[in-house]
Amino acid sequence: MEPLDIDLDSAELDIPAEPALLNVGPAHPAMHGTVRIVMELSGETILKADVQVGYLHRGFEKMCERGTWSQVFPYVDRCNYVSPMLNNVAFALACEKMLGVQVPVRCQHYRVILGELARMSDHLTCTGAMAMELGAFTPFLWLIKAREMIWDLMEEETGARLTHSFGRVGGMAKPPTSGFKEHALAVKSQVLEVVAEAEKLLLGNRIFLDRLDNVGVVSAEDAVSLGWTGPCLRASGVAYDVRKAAPYMTYGQYDFEVPVGTRGDCYDRFVIRLEEVRQSARIIEQAVQQMPDEGPIDIDDPRIVLPPKDEVYTTIEGTIQHFKIVMEGLKIPAGEVYSYTEGGNGELGFYLVSDGSGTPYRVRIRPPCFLVTAGLEKVITGEMMSDVVPCFGSLNMIGGECDR
């Protein structure tokens, strides 16, 4: 063995100076299993990055062109599987816009409450996972505990915890359960308590803050040009929220704020999500107050809404109607529509083209995640290798929605 104290002339040291190529993902815990980043590194600084998506592509849009309009609901569930209720409602709204109908007020409030709970669960998952990826495991468990409370409520209302398929064109699958309002209010306050606790665990932690502060800064111009929407855009200081800019359903009646960041770094994106959970809680509180206890959930149109089960079994009209809607699908007039709502990650749009039949001609989902992930390259170029994890975490890429 050679002696260790060999006197090396510095000129003899052969340190490779060319940039190193590094592959991260798709099978990497911080890449959520669905993204691959090819990076060109100089030391630890990222010179170039190529973000590659598509590992979760399931042909959502192609599948939609094969079934009826109602058969799209289970697919949209699986787009953003962290807040499926928002997707359900968004698709139902798009179809209703094309049909020119509006659901009863009780249903609108019901959709808002379930949607805001889903948004809470989306933000809790994102912030929790982000903390976990940076090594803070306890806050993750805390926030997931809060998500569990929301999912319990969802289970009680819809029968499913994750993929509800609860939206329907012209209403919802079921009316609210008798204890819905009390349950929603209880969950809301429990979630807020847990969020406050988790925040104490994180926002006083120097290590955590150092990883986020001034990391992955995106200017407002860049964010707008990249087509960012939702919490990521608002963190860069642009107060664009579809619920305020173009209020749909009953959002115009509620009093809530749109939190806006100042620097557009990972810290802003993190804090804005937690603040939005609080704003969602405010909306839920008001919606519960304003939601009537009695009244229809579905619109009164037998061409759109399935008849009640007892009618299907006892009357010929009910049987025919059920058969027509299930086998042929409800007919949406020919034309095109773009309907947009505020999803968990930003503007969730549906561009639908109908040829007048019971099968969609084209269903295009405008995925907020896809555009946000498109900006990841810009966010991490010039940053350190270790900053990829908080940057990626703060963008809240949801594979199902990004790759569809």
Binding site: Q52, E65, R66, V224, G227, T229, R362
Partner: protein, 192 residues
């Protein structure tokens, strides 16, 4: 609401704007493919319109029409709060000549959306800096969202496994799931 935008557009490009409509309150303009980028640039630069955001860009395949493809873009103005849908039509019945100018120099958002459009529809965006497949893998042949791409066609990178005495072993075959699936273009499968 944004009818004014349509008026301004027709005033500026009387020849290029082929038709307009405002179905369901979504103002739409169809323009010539040759002036696609020019019109988009005007939409962004004009102080009365100032579409800062390209919210969506996609395509629709109308198999029976000529030109066959419709490129659809949705714009939103943050400062003015109005929206516009801009469309153009390209390509012949065989799916050739599907070309349109890129919008990447105007909006960074166009980069990935145009790549997706190229990947799934085979629309070539002239001048795009990096026109690669994005959702499908590089070995994939054809463009899956075209109506003449049969939905049951599969191109597995790894062959389906054929194990004796076992019903289902991943990767599954193409006919699993979708038991109710209805073919929108049944005539195409019949020809196969």
């Amino acid at each position: 609401m944004s009818q004014r935008v349509l008026d301004l557009l027709i005033q500026r490009f009387p020849q290029a704007v082929l038709e307009t409509h405002a179905q369901h309150g979504d103002e739409t303009a169809v323009v010539e493919a040759a002036s696609w980028a020019k019109v988009a640039e005007f939409l962004k630069a004009s102080p009365d319109i100032s579409m800062e955001m390209l919210t969506d860009l996609t395509a629709v395949d109308y198999l029976e029409r000529e030109p066959r493809f419709e490129i659809v873009a949705h714009f939103y103005s943050l400062s003015k709060g109005h929206r516009l849908r801009l469309k153009t039509r390209v390509g012949n019945a065989q799916g050739e000549g599907v070309e349109v100018a890129t919008l990447v120099p105007l909006w960074a958002a166009a980069n990935w959306m145009e790549r997706e459009c190229y990947d799934l529809f085979g629309v070539r965006f002239v001048g795009h800096p990096d026109l690669r497949r994005i959702l499908m893998y590089p070995e994939f042949e054809g463009h899956p969202l075209r109506k003449d791409y049969i939905a049951t066609r599969t191109q597995p990178l790894i062959e389906y496994r054929d194990a004796p005495n076992i019903d289902k072993v991943a990767p599954f075959g193409f006919d699993e799931g979708m038991s109710f699936g209805r073919q929108t273009h049944q005539f195409l499968t019949d020809e196969e």
